[in-house]
């Protein structure tokens, strides 16, 4: 039953994605990631479907999430994502939908992910992506690519390491103009000395750009509230956010501050269905 509702809900949302968004495929999905300075590789939540597929390998519940982000308060730079996670006996399946742009220009992505954990320490994830780029009155282009990631606990429950690569085959969008689909690799650590505190660090390298360093701290002040802060260096961007943990629902909000470009708000909701099995 639950699965059925779940699929209906998800499909409904996928079609409802408003067309006022724009962005890229390499932005952090989920306000929690944003608040931690765009950390994506060593976090395990529903948005790992888009961030680092290995992260869903540790999830045990049907989970569904939506994420909306606006970059620098520019209407055209809005990103919308939806993610779903379905744990099964063979492994964990995930579905991710991304849309950004306007009716003039848009980028969208559908990804199907599979992740498997081996014991509680190691997880491996893979995703096949179907990308679509569309420019109004000009044409559109479709592309297949894939991404993959791993996560493993160096110290059980305390230190999680994660790595992720997007577009390892260095696919090009347009041979003539040599417009590339970015090839991005990330490596991160997530250190939790206690259940209340996590300290995260990540380095991100786009083949064509200088490396970006990221750090963030998450503090669970009380059971239901988490405070988060973080930053990116190179270019510099500060971030902070909160997370509200209600019964099955989690609400995350974040803001990123770029000294020249300004604020980027981010909101996401996660709903985890009561544990199956």
């Amino acid at each position: 039953m639950i699965v059925k509702y779940f699929i209906i809900l998800f499909t409904a949302f996928s079609f409802l994605c408003p067309s006022i968004l724009a962005g890229s495929f390499d932005d952090a999905v989920g306000a929690r990631s944003s608040a931690l300075g765009n950390h994506t590789s060593a976090i395990s939540d529903v948005f790992s479907v888009s961030n680092n597929q290995a992260g869903i390998g540790f999830l045990k519940k049907y989970t569904f999430g939506i994420s909306a982000k606006n970059k620098f308060l520019v209407k055209e730079l809005s990103l919308m994502d939806a993610a779903a996670v379905l744990p099964t006996k063979t492994g964990v399946f995930g579905l991710g939908v991304h849309y950004s742009g306007t009716s003039l220009f848009s980028e969208s992505k559908i990804g199907i992910a599979f992740a498997k954990s081996f014991g509680d320490r190691f997880s491996f994830g893979l995703q096949f992506d179907y990308l679509n780029f569309r420019i109004s009155e000009y044409g559109s282009k479709n592309l297949f690519t894939f991404e993959a990631g791993v996560q493993y606990f160096l110290v059980p429950e305390k230190l999680l390491a994660g790595a992720h690569i997007n577009n390892p085959l260095r696919l090009t969008l347009d041979e003539e103009t040599d417009e590339k689909l970015p090839t991005v690799m990330r490596f991160g650590l997530n250190y939790s000395p206690s259940k209340k505190v996590s300290v995260l660090a990540e380095v991100e390298k786009d083949l064509d750009y200088a490396p970006v360093f990221k750090a963030g701290v998450e503090y669970r002040v009380v059971e239901k509230l988490a405070l988060r802060g973080g930053f990116n260096a190179n270019p510099f961007q500060a971030a902070f956010g909160i997370g509200l943990y209600l019964k099955n629902l989690t609400i995350d909000a974040a803001s990123l501050f770029h000294p020249q470009l300004g604020v980027s708000p981010h909101l996401s909701l996660t709903y985890a269905f009561a544990r199956k099995q």
Binding site: Y191, P193, V217, G229, F231, A238, P259
Partner: protein, 743 residues
């Protein structure tokens, strides 16, 4: 978890204490092995005191080794190490000489006369950076809940305390009952039973510098008036927590002595009389003193910590008034001041009138056909060697009155500050674009509010200050201990381009709080017992032009330090620092200046090894990469050896260093050992070697002697120094001697 009620049944309390201890801190793990024999616990109804005593007994067991260390007084070295790290960073940042002897002195004072944990206020505990705010607050709270400390080992039962903090503070604290503490039987005791100390110091550069070479007949130029020797005399009487008086006098190299331009002998005299804890007067200052309020946006004379490898050390906290005993000739107040304590209120007022060095010029007023005098700038070097330096000496009179009212409850407070400054010559209007918003005129009023608020493990602090032109400067921040293994700090600053206060010295990239905005975040991690990782990042903007920066600019500063102490005898750390700022592009020949990024990276590896009880070795390798469009490198490598044995009167400290840098831009700073209360952090550049030797000898109970010899050699230059300090040769030798009489 915290013990809230005093009268809970003791056995329950003990269990909670234990639980707290086990949960709170890994150090208490040992305790689990010594399970509490509950049957011999004090019975219900006994007071908590006996329970605590009992617990203490158990706590002490795993700490016998600590107790032994205590007997040997684990030297001031460890603290000094921390301080030198801070200092080195500060030197790199500001590139300016600042005065630290007052700080060092307090530390040594405290070492010799440890503070009583049963009397220490929250301020006392945080003053010397031995404890974090929440730790200090917890100590005071603990005392309020359970009464006075019975033993120093009770500290282990205090919330937020860890072994590091306890070890760090052990040399400086003691536990006594109130009765034997500073109870003065008679005036005679107060006046004569404290410590008298007299310091005499002499130093000189042995090679002849240009400023001392007599002019040939017919030759014109500037020469120093006096000889190259430097004298320093200091006398101080100190009865801890009650009375301190004394004087300091100094003649810098090149200044005259009892002759012609210096008929009074020394160039600089400073004296103070300082009374503490006399009925409602918390302090009374007459003569020279320091005033430090809030976060330093209005008033913070003397040294203030800024960005350093101690990444969570960003909140300022100090007594309002302190005696001044140092030789910085400008950064202090001269007059009277007092702090009155009434209940939770603390009221400070002061008045200062002092002559400052300034360059005075006459301007023709074309309207009135008259002359106006104005000061073009205030000088801060304190050097009066040449005719022009002597002309500027004490040229402008500065009058400051101010007050500070503080409502305080342990670690939290709310306070108001106001100061008014007058100069007898107006500071001239600034004509360059970059300084046109800076202060000019002869009157300045500042007022503001500051606060600190401790909520659980979050300590918030901040200050807002205004100038009488309604420009504003503000600083907000917090430090928080999220976990015994994780401490964080965050600060935001916003200083408008036309804000100014003469004695401001707050947290920030530049020393004075104007034309700057920035956000700082630091985190200190102790993932394992012996490993600590400290890192901060600071992003800052200068919305207006600065000196040699002809456009609004910004920058970013990052530091990471990993410290590993595998055993008590070994300490290793690696540090990486990366700072980018913008400056006018060098070598730009067009009419219009454009900005270029200037990046400096420092990579340091430092190792300290205690070979035996008496011998310590230290090595360092530092590599600097400087890049302002053209890349250059610098290196420094040194070896230190220190010999200091208990019961043997002579101790020795020596260093040999090699440095090789392409130019001044890639210079490397390193702290150097010196005679007591003197210090130096030279920046090395060019190619050469450095050697120094410090001997310290305890001649009798009352007399200590120090001798220092230092040599700098550069191989790729034919001269050392610049201007009048230039030496015609590639070697510079310096000697320094000091004697201390103590009775």
């Amino acid at each position: 978890m915290r013990l809230r009620e005093n009268n809970k049944a003791t056995s329950e309390a003990s269990l909670r204490l234990r639980r707290k201890a086990q949960r709170g801190n890994p150090k208490f793990k040992d305790l689990l092995l010594l399970d509490l024999p509950l049957c011999i616990l004090p019975k219900r109804g006994n007071d908590l005191r006996s329970l605590l005593l009992y617990l203490l007994f158990l706590f002490i067991l795993p700490y016998i080794s600590l107790a032994q260390e205590r007997k040997q007084k684990p030297s001031i070295e460890e603290i000094r190490d921390d301080i030198t790290q801070i200092l080195e960073t500060v030197s790199e940042e500001t590139d300016a000489a600042f005065n630290l002897d007052a700080f060092l002195e307090q530390l040594v004072d405290l070492y010799q006369k440890p503070m009583n944990l049963n009397r220490a206020s929250y301020e006392d505990l945080t003053n010397l950076r031995l404890l974090s705010p929440e730790q200090a607050d917890a100590v005071v709270r603990h005392r309020e809940q359970f009464g006075n400390f019975i033993s120093i080992y009770e500290l282990q039962a205090v919330e937020y305390m860890d072994v590091d903090a306890i070890t760090r503070m052990l040399p400086f604290v003691t536990v006594r009952s109130d009765i034997d503490d500073y109870q003065i039987q008679s005036i005679k005791q107060l006046l004569f039973e404290g410590d008298f100390e007299l310091y005499l110091r002499y130093s000189q550069i042995l090679e002849e510098q240009d400023g001392y070479v007599p002019l040939d007949s017919g030759e014109t130029g500037t020469r120093y008036a006096g000889n190259p020797s430097r004298f320093y005399t200091r006398f101080r009487y100190n009865f801890p927590n009650k009375l301190s008086y004394g004087f300091t006098a100094e003649k810098d190299a090149g200044e005259e002595f009892f002759h012609d331009t210096q008929p009074r002998g020394y160039d600089f005299y400073s004296g103070h009389l300082f009374v503490r804890n006399a009925s409602i007067f918390k302090s009374i200052a007459v003569g020279d003193f320091e005033a430090k309020f809030g976060q330093g946006l209005i008033m913070w004379s003397g040294f203030g910590f800024g960005k350093s490898p101690f990444v969570t050390n960003i909140k300022k906290s100090s007594e309002a008034l302190k005696p001044y005993t140092s030789v910085d000739e400008n950064n202090f107040l001269r007059g009277i001041g007092t702090t009155i304590e009434a209940g939770n209120f603390e009221i400070t007022g002061f008045f200062s009138q002092d002559r400052k060095d300034a360059n005075i010029e006459l301007l023709v007023d074309t309207l009135e056909d008259d002359f106006i005098s104005q000061a073009t700038s205030l000088q801060e070097s304190g050097l009066h060697r040449t005719e022009s330096e002597l002309e500027d000496k004490d040229a402008a009179k500065q009058l400051i009155t101010g007050g500070h009212i503080k409502f305080q409850k342990r670690a939290s407070h709310l306070a108001l500050t106001a100061t008014h400054t007058r100069l007898d010559f107006p500071l001239g209007a600034n004509t360059s674009p970059y300084n046109q918003f800076q202060f000019s005129g002869d009157r300045l009023t500042n007022f503001g509010m500051d606060y600190a608020l401790l909520i659980k493990n979050f300590y918030f602090f901040g200050e807002v200050a205004l100038r009488n032109n309604w420009s504003v400067a503000m600083l907000y921040g917090f430090i928080a201990s999220l976990d015994p293994k994780v401490d964080i700090s965050v600060a935001y600053r916003y200083y408008q381009k036309d804000y100014f206060s003469f004695f401001a010295n707050p947290f920030g990239e530049s020393r004075n709080p104007f034309n700057e905005q920035g956000i700082y975040a630091g985190i200190s991690l102790k993932p394992f017992k012996k490993i600590q990782l400290d890192t901060y990042i600071d992003y800052f903007k200068f919305p207006w032009l600065r000196y040699q920066v002809d456009a609004p600019s910004n920058g970013i500063d990052f530091l990471a330090q990993l410290t590993w102490k595998p055993t008590k005898k070994i300490e290793l750390y690696g540090r990486y620092k990366n700072e980018t700022k913008q400056e006018n592009e060098p070598g730009n020949t067009s009419k219009l200046d454009v900005l270029a990024d200037v990046n400096k990276q420092n990579i340091r590896f430092n190792a300290r090894y205690k070979v035996s009880e008496s011998i310590t070795l230290e090595n360092r390798f530092e590599y600097v990469i400087f890049n302002d469009g053209e890349k250059e490198n610098g290196y420094l490598i040194f070896q230190d050896i220190t010999y200091s044995a208990l019961g043997f009167p002579l101790s020795v400290s020596a260093r040999f260093a090699l440095f090789d840098t392409k130019s001044y831009d890639s210079r490397v700073y390193a702290y150097e050992d010196d005679v007591l209360y003197s210090y130096s952090i030279p920046g090395f550049y060019n190619k050469g070697t450095r050697f120094y030797l410090v001997l310290s000898y305890k001649a009798t109970r009352n007399i200590d002697l120090w001798l220092r010899f230092a040599q700098a050699y550069v191989s790729n230059q034919v001269t050392i120094g610049s201007g009048l300090d230039e030496i015609d040769g590639n070697v510079r030798n310096e000697i320094r001697g000091q004697v201390r009489f103590k009775f």
